[in-house]
Structures are given as C-alpha cells and as structure tokens.
C-alpha cells in the first residue's frame, strides 16, 4: 500500500511541477532578462515587476503543491527513489509542455539530452 501512495505522490508531484515550471517560465519570459532589467531600471523596479506578475504566482502555487507532495513522498520512500522517479517523468512532461505551450525550439539536441537524463534517472530509480 505504501508503494501505491508513493507513486500517487510522484504522479501529483510531476503534474504540479510541470504546470508550475511552464507558468514560471512563461512569467520570466514576459518579465525579461533580470540582469538586463536591473542594469537599466534598478533593483527596486525589478522587484516590483516580478511581484506584479500574476502568472508567476500561479506557477509558484503549483510548485508549492509539488513541494508538499514531494515532502510526503520523502517520508514514505528514500530520496534516491522519490527524487529521480519524479524527475524522470517531469523531464518528458516539461519538454512536451514547453514545445506546445511555450513554443520552444525542442530540437534533436534537446530531445537527446532530455531522453538521456530521463534514462539516467530511471536507472537510478530501478537499480
């Protein structure tokens, strides 16, 4: 039963993490390069711009769900199981979501890297 709960936690973590990552990435793309903004408008203007992004807070909300779900998973299983399993599934989900929602250029190099990293974390999980 504990295994089922662990995988339920991993599933919740993956979905919430993907939604959170996409929303945070979208918000940061809209805000722009932070270094560039700080140089041109100052630190205070940068903070105001970040704090006024509703999309960013939506992303942080989903990341918080992923965080608590991960925390519960860690209390049931080893870090070396929960961490990699969540990560492997999150990588593929994020690559697909980034391609369709953020229109990122996920070329062969990035798919290759994503699949290699995904395989790596799967081997870590099931070895």
């Amino acid at each position: 039963m504990k295994t089922l709960y662990t995988w339920l936690c991993i599933f919740t973590t993956v979905c919430a993490a993907a939604a959170g990552d996409i929303l945070v990435a979208l918000a940061m793309r809209r805000i722009g390069d932070l270094d560039d903004l700080r140089r041109r408008h100052g630190f205070l203007a940068l903070i105001v711009r970040i704090l006024s992004s509703g999309v960013l807070f939506g992303g942080i909300f989903f990341m918080a769900i992923a965080f608590f779900s991960n925390l519960i998973g860690l209390s049931w299983a080893d870090l070396s199981v929960v961490g990699p399993a969540s990560a492997a599934l999150t990588f593929v989900t994020n690559a697909l979501a980034a391609k369709f929602f953020l229109h990122e250029n996920v070329d062969r190099r990035r798919w290759f890297a994503t699949i290699f990293v995904c395989c790596g974390v799967l081997i870590l999980t099931w070895s």
């Binding site: 041109r40 925390l71 519960i72 070396s80 081997i123």
Partner: protein, 141 residues
C-alpha cells in the same frame, strides 16, 4: 552564455540538491505521514533540517527564476539535472544510503545528457519577442 550565467545554473544545482538532502534528513526524523492525516506535514516544518531545506529551496527558486529569464525551460531543466548526481553523492556520504553500480550507470547517462544540452543555444528566439538591447540579443544567440 557568459560565465555569470553558468554560475547561475550552478547555483540552481547547488541550492536544489542540498535543499532536497536537508528535507530528506528532516523528514526521516519527522517519521512517516499517515495518508489520513496529511496536514501533519505542516508540523514537520518545525524540524530544523526541514526549515533549512526550505531556506535552501527559496535560494534555489530565486536562482531558477533568474536562469529562466535568460534561457529556455528545455535548456535549464536538463542542464541542472547534474543535481541528481549531487543528490546521489549526498545520499552516500550524508544519508548513508546504499548506491549500487547500476546507479552509477544512471549517473553517467545524466552527465552525458547535461553535456549535450549545455553545448547548445540557451534561448529560442521568437520573431515577436522585443529585445531593446542589441547586446542582450547577441548574448542570447
């Protein structure tokens, strides 16, 4: 990609993996959480290791947001995957978990994946994206 931007990616790796290790250690002390009493997870925050983990993860969040402001999500995620290698090392030396030779093969796969993506461009340029500073545009490409 400038050296400063690689350092931002490295700080994502450092704060993320150390934060996760602190959380894992804290949750081991707090004990298993019953499925019927999930809100007990909030009481785990009183544990100093969990608290330290949260502080590290806040630092992770700010460096992660900085990284996403100059690079694509599909670049940042594989590039920061080296944190799982750090997590395995922390599992061995700090949490005293057993790591088999197969897991080292997994680590090798991750290292190759990270190496492949790190050598490519960090940002997709969209035609509608406004970049007022030509130097910044040059840096992104």
């Amino acid at each position: 990609m400038t050296l400063r931007k690689y350092l931002v990616i490295l700080s994502v790796v450092f704060f993320g993996s150390v934060g996760d290790a602190f959380l894992a250690r804290g949750m081991k002390h707090a004990g298993a959480i019953d499925i019927h009493h999930l809100f007990k997870v909030l009481s785990a925050i009183a544990n100093p290791f969990v608290l330290l983990g949260i502080l590290f993860l806040l630092a992770f969040m700010s460096s992660y947001m900085t990284a996403l402001s100059f690079a694509d999500l599909t670049y940042v995620l594989p590039a920061t995957a080296i944190s799982y290698v750090v997590m395995v090392l922390l599992s061995i030396f700090w949490l005293h978990e057993h790591v088999s030779p197969q897991r080292w093969v997994g680590v090798a796969f991750i290292v190759v994946g990270v190496g492949v993506v790190a050598g490519g461009p960090s940002r997709t340029e969209h035609p509608t994206r406004r970049v007022s500073d030509p130097k910044a545009l040059e840096e992104h490409v």
